[in-house]
Symmetry: C5
Subunit: 398 residues, 5 copies
């Protein structure tokens, strides 16, 4: 029962009805709603987010020339037993979905996880980080970033890893992930990965997440090019600027997610040698370079998106210019013509009421070929104006 | 008597009449007015802000399995007696409102508060900070931030805490606060909080303030979405840009308020172990992460609000474009038509004054179906133009 | 004789005639002109700025229960004698105006001031700073900042302080200052200030300058609000944008002046304890917080002024929009009407020259109620258009 | 077999068809595509980029007064043999093109290159860096930057260097390079370079790359000037803004490429003296200054390109202004004229149907010289307006 | 023979013809062209820039009460002899112009200058810096900055100083300089400068360069004010924005040149006491303050120039607004009038062809005073509109 839940604004005098599908604020807000319910609770209290998936448990046990994969979703005790009975194997326990508090609590008890750390796992908005324990165990948080083709938005999920003497325990809130490539590598008979200690697996998982940033960014790059084409397309999508601004924000968010990833690796590199071997340091150095390159690319993309905005406004201004040119050309040509024909529509009378003749009053009207003369004059005016506009470059495109 | 009070400008040659309810400068200025009266005074002189509420005194005394709440508003000596008589209990003395100098001075004397610190308490614009005393006591300032649905503005209040061996003394300038959730937690029989030393209560109060930032930001997020909808609504609120710019400033202010909060926790973390126990450090680390996340979110919101401004201008430009298109289409169609009908309104005479016939003068006027011919021609012109504008994408939306 | 004085540009091909009262560059340039004459001179050469006021000398001598104020403007030797004869008193020698080189040189000699430091005093553009001497004396420069209601500009003056064993020597270039409040405090019988060593007076002077920033900023805040109202006022001041941009620059300047003030206090705090006592450190800490708050407020104001610029442009665009709407509405209504009436102004003849009747030629003209029919049609067209524009929200405000 | 290759978005609902030749995203994306195929692979796995050139092997062996150049493209073993048989010579092994895995693997084995480093060589997007080995060998990556006149884009290639006791092994992915000048220097009989140890050659190669930045930037400078002229040219290239924005991005990229180059040299300078001799340090200091100057120039160019954008928009706005002026002048002159001639086209009858005379009805029509009077009046109106517009400065240019 | 000289782009498909006198890129590019020819050369190879002036040699020898000035342009050996024969004097050898390689090489040999340092002297784009030698000699580079009234551009020249036991050797590439003031000071009989060691002269030269920044900035300040007036002038210079943007770039360049100057002094201040005496440190501190003030002023000017750009655009928008208002007022007044007069130009016939009378057809035409009535109505319409526009504030200025 949280008395603060009433503090969400409803803008009653203004009728808000937030739609929530713009600017991708919605999912962040959802996370916050979940957090709302935590205000004032003891830090470390576990809250399962409403709508969280039922946890599925997978275990992948391997040794130099042995590998076994099994799902233990409803057989938790069996999994723990298997883990205890085979200390000679290395295990990857893969938990997907958080939607069951008892399972989470069993895992906390059996793997010695601190409530604050489990809160970080369940909380869906946690920056990448590394925590070290007294007994040389590590708690690693990575952010898996995807560009979803369906919503054309950047989506990120959390991968939380706990390392142990001969296991890695991973948490994700989704059933699908980008780690399948690593499973394939483990399944390969001669994989080096199988021969290394289990801590190496934790690093390999982090590295896969990092490498996945590059196809994500390639997708964003394609999307930027597609947007650029749309800007100059004759029929413009009215939501185009929205798309561009949303992508801009996504890019800012991408960088905000990747920066801690880089810092996490830098922190891993500073760990003492009894945790991180020199051999692993070499590979971490490589991972650090990749993170820096991802940030470099992201910086370049941010510039590209700024250019998109500038192009958008320039194009909008171009179109206004074109509208004005059409108006100006048509008006400039026909308004003078209308004056001339109006002139000869005047009713000045050659013959005054007293019968006298005023030959000065519009003699053109009575001259033969007066009409043709006027038509010729009008044609000359039109021709002159068309020439003037053509010379100014107003006719034709651009 | 402050001779500087005359230094407030009155723009007499310009007739200012500042309204003071825009851009939320007003309340900051009010603080400054209060400060005006301090110029030249001895630092540490206490000034009760005019309009400050009469102080209400609450005391919440608790032990592992005991809790007692009482209001001592007009019974200050009784409260002090109770505090002295029960050194075995932990006490939370909660002072709400500063509007009575004698009460404030009694508190200063009885709890050994330095005048400069009390000045910080009474002064309503103080950044979050932590001060340590020689005797391991702490002085903590937090800023409670709310998004008021009534004014659609960010509002912040100060929570000042003094810790003692078995008490926490808190000051707020308002009767309402966001700390009720913590009181509920204390009232719970098995609350861990009751068993910990009173210093832990001070940290829990700080943490509640920190956690409250998230529902505040969720409210701002909803407001941003509502604003975004208003931008593209057909009838635009003329004060819309004002609202956006005000929110932008509020967001800047939010960050300026939260940054010192983060730094305060960082400073607490650097305190020696005899003040902050390792156990508490773990929780403070968690609080630090929360502050960083709040800043991250605020950064994202700032980007969203920038996008709002861009959308606003783009929409304004779109509307201008639409106005121009209507003008251009109507003018381009009818101005040439007017020319044609004007042409046949000319008074060229078939019959010259001398009776001779000038058959070249406007023979169309005399041809049967001349009128119909002209109407047909006009229809063709209109059709051609409509086709041209349709092909250019000027007809229809966007 | 300075050969460089000819280096001031005269833009002869362009006829500059700089007016010098815009953007407050003028007074900075004046300072530079003065500096021009220094180029190549030995550093530390004293130059009295042309137009500097004749120095007035005031001395305020005090002790725990004694105070004496006297002007020694034309009695310099008497002042020095009084100073030497009363080592038991604390003295504040207040020099206002620099316009007399011999007086300045006497002061330098009698108070042991280095030429470079006196150059800093006379030079009107010196950032706030603190210099320490070997013998624990301090040289403090503060900037007094005011918002002048007459010119609506930020004005700053320099307050230079030299501390000595039992005196403070202050320099200002103006007769008026913001220090009167401190004099009042000294005149009060039970002032703590009188009992403290004279160094404390130097700090109190610095603090008064610092506190004066807040009423200055309150005045700027009022001015910002007044400007905001002017932006949406129906008749716009053509110099409005100038005012806003000038204020923006003033705000940038304000921050540039206050930052060194903050750094100066930070430097004072780092001084060894034999110069700054722990007691004074507490108060300096308070002053540091005030400087940070002033910078915080200035940052907020800068944001407000940016918003003013945005509002200005949005309002300008709004007005353009309104102009265009009036044009579009009037043109769109009347241009088609003109076409219709032009149509019936055509001279197609029912009767051909050969006497035959062409009943197809404009039969409307001959029908009874044809005129009324056309008028009705025109009214319908107008009604339709008005409805269309009303539905688009173009009629009415905004 | 990479299951992620399907993750590249295809925007199916939107029909993207990315063209890929804008904003130079294409080549970066190509690199990423290559990297896509690496996701999940063991770090250090070598991937030859599709389309990489077949490696050509050159060796340049030299001594104080001896030089020999030979291509060993299809004679790899012979090259190694020559290298081993002549330890008294210094060798520069120059590998151009990466398109043959066996060759690469032979080089790795024979020169003791770590797979991760070879991955850096083959990966085409690697920031400039320096790695040191335990045995004082260096791995240097430089970026050769060119401004291609054909595409008017900045192009960069990687130069990777491995130093050994008496050789330098360089890798490039292209057959052409900017190192020919250095070869010329080596061929000169009295070249100092020949007498220095081979490590000096590695530095000289780095320096040539650095020096090549300056002609690249001179080319960009010329291009900026050419763009500036195009902005004000009467017929504007519709892709002009695109070009400017692309160049802006190229400039940002240039800086992002040169910054690590500068940092690399700074890192070389920090190497211990047994690797970098004091003599070489002097030259590296010089190289550091050059890198800083290149960055300074790039900063200036960035400002120039920003100015281009501003000029572009101002010019666009100017043109709009001109269009509007033409419309306004023509309309303002002829619309009133049309009114006047329309006035005298009214059919008010002097003679009422009942035969009575209404002399008040348009007597002008019957006055002699009425027509001339009207023409004169119209001429005066036109003259007055032309004078008004001329005084306003609307006639003529600008 | 430099094969890279062909790498300058010629944009052949686009016909560039760079003019080179915009944005002051030209002279920087010239420097780069010179550098182009260095690519691949041994670092430290001397290249005389084509067009460099023939060196003129001046020597100013002085002692406490002695001074001698002489030009040794074609008598180099004599100068060296004089230098060697008078170790008791202090000498300032002033080399102006670099256009003769043998002279340069003689100087290098006789004064022990390293080729890399001489390269820095001859290279015209070198940031201010200080290098120390093993034997306590200094190499100082300063940048002399001028605002040229002829081109209205910032121009900078390099002053390179080598200090020796009893001499200062200075290099400039121009015959004119801003050092004459210092020569005057030396010529004064009682100059302190004469009595100090020659190192002091080097500092004094640096200080003169620094002091010269202030008149340069005063000139820029005047130019800014002149530009501001031009913005609101009725006839606007079409190159005005170009000028503003060029000045903005010059200001950026100014800061980029002065920052290293400040850092150079800071570095001098960090030199050990056996090079820089405490006495000189005091003066260097003063110089440091001056450099900081120059940067402060430059920052303020940058803000002023930004304001200029904003004013420019606002003014451009104002003018557009005015154009639109004229169009709108004229059109709105006359288009309805034209409709009314067109109305009465319709040819509806009172008398039908069958002779019947249709009294409903335009009876106004036959009423007496119908014409006057219409004229009155038109006058009322005009009056109403003028009143409407006047109330809207569209008539009159602003």
């Amino acid at each position: 029962m949280n008395p603060l839940s009433a503090s969400s604004p409803n803008f009653s005098p203004l009728n808000p009805e937030p739609t929530g599908n713009n600017f991708s604020i919605a999912d962040q807000a959802a996370t916050q709603q979940a957090r709302d319910q935590n205000v004032g609770q003891r830090p470390g209290t576990l809250n399962i987010r409403p709508g969280a998936l039922k946890p599925r448990l997978f275990m992948l046990s391997y040794h130099d020339d042995f590998i076994e994969e099994k799902e233990y979703t409803d057989h938790y005790p069996e999994m723990i037993r298997h883990l205890r009975e085979h200390p000679e194997l290395k295990h990857w326990i893969d938990v997907r979905g958080y939607g069951d508090l008892p399972t989470i609590e069993h895992l906390m008890r059996d793997f010695g996880i601190h409530p604050l750390q489990m809160e970080d796992v369940l909380n869906d908005y946690q920056r990448a980080k590394v925590d070290t324990f007294d007994d040389n165990r590590l708690f690693l948080v990575s952010r898996m970033i995807d560009f979803l083709p369906s919503t054309l938005e950047v989506d990120d999920d959390q991968l939380s890893l706990f390392t142990g003497p001969n296991y890695v325990l991973s948490f994700q809130d989704d059933y699908d992930d980008c780690l399948e490539v690593l499973r394939q590598r483990l399944r390969t008979n001669f994989s080096q990965l199988r021969r290394k200690p289990s801590l190496y697996l934790a690093y390999a998982l982090t590295d896969v997440v990092l490498d996945h940033y590059f196809p994500t960014m390639a997708a964003i790059g394609d999307y930027i090019e597609w947007l650029e084409e749309r800007i100059v397309a004759p029929r413009r999508d009215p939501r185009l600027l929205n798309r561009i601004l949303r992508l801009k924000k996504d890019m800012v968010r991408f960088r905000r997610l990747v920066y801690p990833e880089r810092d996490k690796i830098a922190e891993l590199l500073r760990l003492p040698e009894d945790i991180i071997s020199p051999d692993m340091k070499l590979f971490l150095n490589d991972g650090y370079d990749h993170a820096v390159q991802a940030l470099d690319l992201a910086e370049g993309y941010r510039e590209s998106i700024s250019s998109l905005t500038e192009l958008y406004y320039a194009e909008q201004s171009n179109r206004m210019n074109e509208v004005m040119k059409v108006l100006t050309i048509i008006s400039s040509i026909f308004i003078p013509l209308s004056f001339v024909v109006g002139l000869y529509g005047m009713n000045f009378q050659r013959e005054a009421p007293d019968g006298s003749i005023n030959p000065a009053n519009m003699p053109e009207l009575y001259s033969p070929y007066g009409y043709q003369g006027v038509l010729l004059f009008l044609a000359l005016v039109v021709g002159g104006q068309v020439y003037y506009f053509w010379r100014k470059g107003w006719l034709g495109n651009g």
